[in-house]
């Protein structure tokens, strides 16, 4: 996976939003035989047939990086399938309580903080099943018995955009979609066979 690779010939461009899980995503795509490129260059992202928006860390840092390269303006205009992963999904929303950050505004809701209690440790870390609320090619082959790996301290509410929900004390959005923009709160690259199925489905969009 070299940065020099021709963006016209990759299957997916991974947006470098400063997160640290880029390698895991790339390895997961490698295991599926997909060609990926990591970039923060608008020209590279605009030319890709599919775009992944990852991100681990703080919403404020990630948005600053996207603004610095102009990707905050490009991303909402993309017409190819885009998948936000974890923080990348949260960035699709209007606002995140994490650092009181204005985000991309593709989805209208606000991302809120999960409050810890003795019965609900935060961050939410662990394997959860999904409650499937809508049909989508991204969820092809996924059932109520499949587990996905979640690691997050903030969450989006279940609303009309939510394709699948999960619970950590309260219900939260696990898979969301608006038009060509999709997001997953869990980490498909670290969710064993079920996660690989999600990534395969994304590559088939």
């Amino acid at each position: 996976m070299s940065l020099e690779r021709d963006p016209q010939r990759v299957d997916v461009a991974i947006i470098d939003s400063g997160g640290a899980n880029l390698a895991s995503l790339q390895y997961a795509l490698d295991r599926l035989g997909a060609r990926s490129i990591v970039s923060d260059q608008p020209a590279v992202i605009a030319a890709a047939p599919r775009v992944l928006l990852p991100g681990v860390g703080a919403a404020g840092d990630a948005m600053r990086r996207l603004r610095g390269t102009g990707l905050d303006r490009l991303i909402p205009q993309l017409r190819v399938p885009l998948l936000g992963v974890c923080l990348g999904m949260q960035l699709l929303y209007r606002h995140s309580a994490e650092g009181d950050t204005a985000c991309l505004g593709i989805l209208g809701a606000r991302v809120g903080r999960l409050d810890a209690s003795p019965a609900r440790p935060v961050p939410h870390m662990g394997w959860n099943t999904l409650e499937l609320l809508g049909e989508d090619p991204l969820l092809r082959g996924i059932g109520a018995g499949d587990y996905f790996y979640f690691v997050h301290g903030y969450a989006a509410p279940v609303d009309a955009c939510t394709l699948a929900a999960t619970r950590h004390g309260e219900p939260l959005a696990a898979v969301v979609r608006r038009d060509n923009f999709r997001g997953v709160q869990f980490h498909p690259e670290r969710s064993a066979a079920a996660g690989a199925r999600i990534l395969r489905n994304f590559l088939d969009l």
Binding site: A23, A58, G126, V151, G153, R190, A192, A193, G195
Partner: protein, 244 residues
């Protein structure tokens, strides 16, 4: 981990080689482990950081999360490990020497990346945090009370606590339920029980009686005494929700 091989000791001593890291990683992945933790036990006592090469090799074969522990003393050390593909880094001795390290790691990477490992010894003065436990000749009392340290690391931004009860480590006599309960009462981040698992019932008790979020074990899996699929079947049969 020691010098590129997987080793396991008893009560932090007499470490024996149990296998090649990639083979073991793939085996546990296939058996249904939910997360793997790699401790480079020689890293802190020798004053060096974990060597990064094996981290990316492990990241290529694993499709489950994994955590790397050992000798992470700075944001730069952590960044190398996370960029190589680990989900989390775990700090132990370096956090005792420089507690603000936890703040810096949490600020840079988010709490969800930052695990604090606590090696806790039962003494006449209560539960005490030990440091440099990878080397029996240098392991010593850090002069910190375990329960106070559990609270401090959360305030500093730890996203998970792995409590390794040293008196039970490697003994297979069971997790230290009493100590886990004391820590659980103070712990609002995920708590992982470590040290002493010998039977399936031990795992079950840690979940049921100490409400831990996860259990960690090494000896019983390395030796083959407990197979992960059988363990998970039993836990599910007892009403504890685990991924099949």
């Amino acid at each position: 981990m020691r010098d590129g091989q997987v080793v396991k000791g008893v009560r932090f001593r007499e470490h024996r080689v149990v296998g090649d890291i990639l083979e073991l990683a793939a085996r546990y992945r296939d058996q249904g482990a939910d997360e793997l933790v790699f401790y480079d036990i020689t890293a802190s006592p020798e004053g060096r950081s974990v060597d990064r090469d094996w981290v990316s090799r492990v990241a290529r074969v694993l499709d489950i999360p994994f955590c790397v522990a050992g000798g992470i003393r700075s944001v730069a050390d952590a960044e190398r490990v996370l960029q190589a593909g680990a989900e989390k880094i775990s700090v132990n001795s370096p956090a005792l020497a420089d507690p603000e390290l936890i703040d810096r790691l949490s600020e840079r990477f988010g709490a969800q990346c930052v695990v604090v490992g606590i090696d806790s010894q039962t003494t006449d003065d209560g539960y005490r945090v030990y440091q440099l436990t990878g080397d029996p000749s240098r392991a010593c009392d850090s002069r910190r009370d375990t329960l106070a340290w559990v609270q401090e690391v959360q305030q500093r931004g730890a996203g998970e606590i792995v409590l390794n009860c040293m008196a039970s480590d490697g003994t297979r006599h069971g997790y230290d339920i009493a100590q886990l309960q004391r820590v659980r009462a103070l712990c609002r981040v995920p708590l992982v029980a470590s040290g002493g698992a010998g039977t399936i019932e031990h795992f079950e008790r840690a979940f049921r009686e100490a409400q831990v979020d996860a259990t960690l074990a090494a000896s019983v899996f390395h030796s083959g005494a407990i197979a992960i699929p059988a363990l998970k079947r039993e836990l599910r049969a007892h009403g504890i929700e685990v991924r099949p």
